[in-house]
């Protein structure tokens, strides 16, 4: 399986990269870890004229704190998230989600930026980013703009990213200290995309839910932010009747495809089960 021929570029800075992408036109593609793009190229489902390899651009990598936010460079790998003390202390849901992505070899190379920018509904990080209220830094020749993860996904492989733009960083408001979190993913085997998965971040106050956010993976053409489901839970003690109503609200917004992972009705039900499990585990972790 040999990809179609292309020209290869290795810029050293973001400005050089976006200038190249702007000049080369719409058939040029940025290359980060390549673990979504290269398989597509081998199948000749993607035949870019040019690849602009982002890996030599130091400013695109790394995890740092910026005031109340965590800013993660786009070419930071899933493996680096697993080993990051800042991630572990401030937003451990990122490591929990990274650990269920693909397999060890893929996590060493696959990047957070690629995972969120690809637009594949099977990617795990987009729903986590919607859950966390993250913002993507998009850079093109004209400069930088910022788009909320909750506004970024338009359809399968369709996002707010314009040709010539790259995701340079992911900005995550650090959840309140003592928050509970969980990413629950049902998959058939290691390396598989989710049959359904749910991300939950919540805070508790005096035994009641103070705030709650829920994201869902691979149960529609885009990742989903289950806003209504989360709102139902705020103020509750997470009693079973209220959780059941929230789960029903989460299930109601799913539009999964029937595929080898199961019929649509099953996957909707599994989105509910993952939501309930994630809520339970998040509560057990909340202080």
């Amino acid at each position: 399986m040999i990809p179609a021929a292309f020209n290869y570029h290795r810029p050293k800075s973001i400005s050089e990269a976006v200038a190249l992408l702007g000049d080369l036109g719409e058939e040029a593609r940025p290359l980060a870890g390549g673990h979504s793009l290269i398989p597509m190229m081998k199948l000749r489902l993607a035949k870019p004229s040019d690849l602009v390899d982002l890996r030599a651009i130091a400013e695109l990598s790394g995890v740092r704190e910026d005031g109340p936010d965590l800013v993660i460079g786009a070419t930071t790998t899933e493996h680096e998230l697993l080993g990051s003390p800042i991630v572990a202390a401030k937003a451990p849901i990122l490591a929990e989600a990274a650990l269920v992505i693909a397999d060890p070899q893929v996590r060493y190379v696959g990047t957070l930026g690629g995972n969120v920018a690809n637009g594949d509904p099977g990617n795990d990080m987009p729903a986590v980013m919607m859950c966390l209220g993250a913002t993507y830094h998009l850079v093109g020749k004209a400069g930088e703009r910022r788009v909320a993860a909750r506004d970024f996904y338009q359809g399968a492989y369709f996002t707010a990213l314009e040709p010539g733009e790259i995701v340079s960083a992911i900005r995550i408001p650090v959840p309140k200290a003592g928050h509970g979190y969980a990413y629950e993913k049902l998959k058939r085997k290691v390396g598989d995309y989710a049959t359904a998965a749910a991300a939950v971040v919540l805070t508790m106050d005096g035994g009641r839910v103070e705030s709650c956010s829920i994201g869902l993976t691979n149960v529609a053409e885009t990742p989903l932010w289950a806003e209504d489901a989360a709102n139902i839970l705020v103020g509750s003690t997470l009693d079973s009747a209220t959780v059941a109503r929230a789960v029903a609200a989460a299930e109601a917004i799913t539009r999964p495809a029937s595929d080898t992972r199961g019929p649509a009705r099953y996957r909707t039900k599994m989105a509910g089960v993952m939501t309930a499990r994630a809520l339970e585990r998040a509560r057990s972790r909340a202080i």
């Binding site: 020209n7 290869y8 390549g34 290269i38 398989p39 690849l51 390899d53 060890p104 893929v106």
Partner: protein
């Protein structure tokens, strides 16, 4: 398409070749360098037979362009054996514990296990199984692969692995 120069260190030796940009690292290693230890299995990032060590990471060399490894230090199964031919503890473990049947997955399994033991010299059985979850053995000989890695972990830390292969 014009060829580009790609240079890296492979098994301790610097190499430079002019290749097409679309040359995958697995083809660079096998066809340009003649290192046929890393195998081409599924070609779809699932099976791990092409796994090599690259700058301290296990990577699937079928899913990386050679150009992306520019400047990197790469080790294949050929680089694991000591110069005099002495087997690495992992190679010895796979022999002693019957960690291979057809042997097709073995170079990838061993290179993945090599990095796993670098990061975690005393893995539990569960950690070994999770650590090699990106490598498939179609003979389904996982039990003895796990034992082989346990044998190597023991040998590398000076503790003998007692359980015999079945």
């Amino acid at each position: 398409m014009a060829k580009i120069p790609v240079s890296m260190t492979v098994n301790g030796k610097p190499v430079l070749r002019w290749v097409e940009p679309r040359t995958l690292l697995i083809h660079f290693l096998r066809d340009d360098l003649g290192l046929t230890g890393p195998h081409i299995g599924c070609e779809t990032t699932h099976c791990g037979a092409c796994t090599v060590d690259l700058d301290g990471k296990s990577v699937k060399s079928c899913t990386m362009f050679a150009a992306q490894a520019e400047g990197a230090s790469v080790m294949t199964i050929e680089g694991l054996t000591a110069p005099g031919g002495t087997l690495h503890a992992l190679q010895e473990g796979f022999r002693e514990m019957h960690g291979l049947q057809c042997g097709f997955c073995t170079p990838g399994m061993i290179m993945r296990a090599y990095r796993l033991l670098q990061e975690n010299p005393h893995p539990s059985e569960e950690e070994i199984r999770f650590g090699i979850s990106g490598n498939l053995c179609r003979c389904t000989g996982y039990q003895n692969i796990v034992r082989a890695i346990q044998y190597a972990a023991g040998k590398l830390s000076g503790v003998e692995f007692k359980e015999a292969a079945e």
